[in-house]
């Protein structure tokens, strides 16, 4: 069932727009405004790094890229643990934190990239700014689903396990170690894998970002591929792609699969599973004498020491009932300060927006519309081929097991890494960039759909298939009464992720510097990039904000409803 779990995102509880959402959006606007104010001091030109196309430079670039991902992931985990804990255990915090997270996860992250890069480069040395910006960007792509997963597992821990840890007087550390972390482990792990898969997309985008006179590229696999495509160096493109695939496969085989096999023990089910995840590397480690010795003579005593120290240091307190019954004045003051700051920021941001002339607003509107068309087009094309292919694969278990690794590896190559290659191929065609943009969106979206449809098709119960056969339904009738309804929840789940990815892609796809030329097409992504290049900051604010609001609104009004419909009407359970 690896297919079904891999790309399933948890949708938070259904709720319409609230004033909280509005507040969060205002907060986002103020943050953007603050970033843009900072960006005014950004240097006019930024010298990029020189990228060597020599194959022996590749290991170094691979290490750089992985290090950025790892740093962002560590940051995400830290954020997840703290934020999830606060939201799960403090009702007051929960009321603020969950709506915030809910909006943040539907914001198209790449739209922040220009503002983050510019503002960072205004206050930090150039290469540090770009490095940090890439890490922040990847962090924002990785953190939200992890946090949701952690929050959800914390709030769904069975009552009696909580009571057992209370009567046996576990302190907070022991509770975290024996109850909370193990309970959330599997969900955190699957979401970590998703986060890494998504993170590559943004890493590649950040590594190749260049705008006007400012070259924000970072030495890494993404930049290598882009430089190779720029110079039309086919062998280098192949080397780069090979290295990228190798890194992703190695991480999968040496990190994620072993972790999955190990984490199987954390299942809550009280029966043995039929086919638990396996990993050759995990088996190897388990049989290794060295690992065994390390575990026995180093790891376990160390863990024992840490436990003992923490248990002494933080004993269980029996008087927690008395905790703050008074009004938390400090909290009110803080909330007021934040409120005032927001109000002032919103006021200033509003002024900046007023500077945008009407004609530019029309451009923005047009841009959003065109990008929306492009996103929809990509989605329709993706659906058109993934539904029949997915059903064919999913309904055939043998084909499915054979194709699974192939599809997974292909899908794991981040679309942004391939983008320069598409450009190289299409730049000569009429409407080349337009085609490449749709293609990039397609590459970023179709896999989510395909995976989900395969999962959905393989979950159709055999007896229902027999029934449709016995009833001698025609092919169309069979699709209408069984296959499409059964697939509906899976298609929606896939499409939500897919459309989010497509909006993100528009930022890198609609405006590119390629082979010394600037190519652009109409769209909101292109507008954001142009505003960045020309230093038109009011336009940058207006365009970024418009895009964010559009995507959030579409999410709420369209996808959420469809998701709810799918969950209530078409779930096969």
């Amino acid at each position: 069932m690896a297919f079904s779990r891999l790309f399933k995102i948890e949708q938070p509880t259904q709720r319409p727009f609230t004033w909280g959402d509005g507040l969060v959006l205002v907060g986002v606007a103020v943050l953007l405004y603050a970033g843009i104010r900072l960006a005014l001091g950004a240097p006019a030109t930024v010298e990029g790094p020189t990228i060597s196309l020599a194959p022996r430079a590749l290991p170094r670039y691979a290490v750089y890229s992985v290090a950025r991902m790892a740093a962002a992931y560590a940051l995400s985990m830290l954020f997840t643990l703290v934020y999830g804990y606060l939201a799960a255990y403090n009702r007051r915090a929960e009321q603020v934190l969950m709506p915030l997270l809910d909006v943040l996860q539907s914001v198209p992250i790449l739209s922040f990239l220009p503002v983050v890069l510019l503002s960072f480069s205004a206050i930090l040395p150039e290469h540090v700014a770009a490095e940090l910006a890439s890490i922040v960007l990847i962090f924002t792509s990785q953190a939200w689903n992890l946090t949701f997963a952690w929050y959800q597992s914390l709030t769904t821990i069975p009552q009696e396990l909580r009571e057992a840890s209370a009567t046996f007087r576990f302190n907070s550390w022991l509770r975290f170690k024996t109850l909370e972390l193990p309970f959330g482990a599997i969900s955190l792990l699957w979401n970590s894998m998703m986060s890494w898969a998504g993170g590559w997309f943004f890493l590649m985008a950040a590594e190749i970002f260049t705008i006007g006179q400012r070259d924000f590229r970072l030495p890494g696999l993404g930049a290598y591929l882009q430089e190779a495509a720029n110079q039309g160096d086919l062998p280098a493109i192949l080397y780069g792609l090979g290295a990228l695939i190798l890194v992703i496969v190695a991480l999968d085989q040496l990190v994620w699969r072993p972790l999955l096999a190990w984490a199987d023990r954390f299942k809550l089910e009280t029966v043995e599973s039929e086919n638990p995840p396996t990993s050759w590397f995990y088996d190897l480690l388990r049989d290794s004498r060295l690992v065994d010795w390390l575990s026995r003579s180093l790891w376990r005593p160390l863990g024992e020491r840490v436990d003992a120290w923490l248990l002494h240091r933080f004993p269980v307190s029996d008087n927690k009932v008395r905790a703050s019954t008074g009004r938390p004045w400090a909290l009110y003051l803080l909330a007021m300060a934040v409120g005032l700051g927001l109000a002032y920021g919103a006021y200033r941001a509003g002024f900046m927006l007023l500077e945008v002339p009407l004609i530019q607003w029309r451009e923005i509107g047009l841009g959003v519309l065109v990008t929306l068309l492009r996103v929809s087009g990509a989605l329709v094309i993706a659906l058109a081929w993934t539904v029949p292919v997915g059903v064919a694969i999913g309904a055939n278990p043998r084909l499915s097991t054979w194709l699974q690794p192939v599809v997974q590896i292909t899908a794991s190559v981040p679309a942004t890494a391939l983008f320069p290659v598409f450009l190289l191929l299409m730049v000569g065609l009429p409407g080349g960039l337009n085609l490449a943009a749709v293609l990039l969106m397609l590459m970023g979206t179709q896999w989510y759909l395909l995976f989900n449809i395969i999962a959905g098709a393989s979950a159709i119960p055999q007896d229902l298939k027999y029934t449709t056969a016995l009833l001698q339904l025609s092919r169309w009738e069979r699709w209408r009464t069984l296959i499409l309804p059964a697939l509906f929840p899976y298609i929606i789940t896939g499409a939500i992720t897919a459309s989010g990815g497509a909006w993100n892609a528009s930022i890198v796809a609609e405006h590119v510097e390629f082979g010394g030329r600037t190519l652009r097409t109409i769209g909101i992504g292109s507008l954001i990039a142009q505003a960045t290049a020309s230093g038109d900051y009011p336009l940058l604010l207006a365009a970024t904000l418009t895009m964010i609001i559009t995507v959030v609104v579409i999410n709420r009004l369209l996808w959420r409803r469809l998701y709810r419909l799918a969950e209530e009407r078409y779930r096969m359970e």
Binding site: A166, T167, F168, R169, E272, L311, V316, D318, N319
Partner: protein
Amino acid sequence: MPTNGYLLELQHINQVYRSGERKFIAVQDVSLTLSEGEFVCLLGPSGCGKSTLLRIITGLQQPSEGRVLYRGAPLQGVNPHATIVFQTFALFPWLTVLDNVEVALKARNVPPKLRTARALDLLDRVGLDGFEMAYPRELSGGMRQKVGFARAMAVEPELLCLDEPFSALDVLSAEALRGELLELWTSGNIPTRAILMVTHNIEEAVFMADRIVLMEKEPGRVVTEVQVELPHPRQRKSPAFLETVDQVYAALAGQTQPEHVELGVAPGETGRIRFLPNITINDLAGLLEHLAEVPDHRHDIYRLAEELRADSDHLLRLTEAAELLGFATIGQGDIALTPLGETFAEASILARKEIFATRIRRVPVFRWLTAMLRSAEGQQLKKDVIQTALELEFPPEEAGQQLEIAINWGRYAELLAYDDADEVLFLEPTGAASRSQVGQP
């Protein structure tokens, strides 16, 4: 020690839940004592607040009102001298059997070597030698509960609390485990000073306890106590044992009251609303048919439990339903069919539906429900709407359950119809509702 001689004392415990504006009483004015050397059972139907009481006693939950004294001192936070054995075992599935026991010792800062030795000793004593390295999912229910017992014993509690520890087990392992627990307890080999067990199984309580505290629901309260002065091991077939069982059934089944008292009032009126017992009509019919076959149509309720192989909790719900609908009367632990009950037992399927319909139309909750539907547009209402209205009277979960039961009964009687897809409840236009005028007694 400022002790009054009791190990544990509850003084006027009240537990109140708030749901919106409404307050619901889960536990009403419970006072209780427990002395060293006692094995006490809290016995009552589900929903009587006995598990809540257990959580209050162990300090997992704070009572809304009242005091919990442990050895004469007010309890602060979780009681360090008490542990719980849980109905669902509450083992950590990712820890081995040994680790599950050890972790309880670790929390009390017992050093590793001593910890392992003690855990192994305990597992040996409950008969789990050889299973130390197994994971809970590899064990049967009975063995899992043994781990639960070993873990609880490991911390050497003075007060051992058992929350329906045998009700998730199959009959045979439950019986074996009961015997083993009693053996440990009566031999005095464990440092436990007192045991408090929550159960809804009457025979189990009589089999194990020195004293049984009987509780009733709506609201949860203590009705009476029964002293069991039989020597261990107790013989389930002995007349003295059966007499005690009969006595407990009599106390819990109560006495049939005049009809207006039995039926209570409708939602919105002042007075006591009668909860609908959670039963299926098939089971009720089974009970009535069985009663129709015994001489005089009168029987000891405890014997019914044996003959129908029913759980005492389930059986008491059935007798309550029979009483509520006027099919039977109850007094002193006996149940007797009324003429109407006899008619029902002998009637055809359709006639049964009609009798049932006339009877439930007298139940105030149904009167209220049909009146509400009749005045609604199209004689139908969303389930949510009714649920919200019921939540003014019942706690949310109970309201949901009451509605489910009402829908079930109403469907059987052909008074109500329910569309699950749209979650709409409506009056059945034809059928028993209109025909039933004839059947009025």
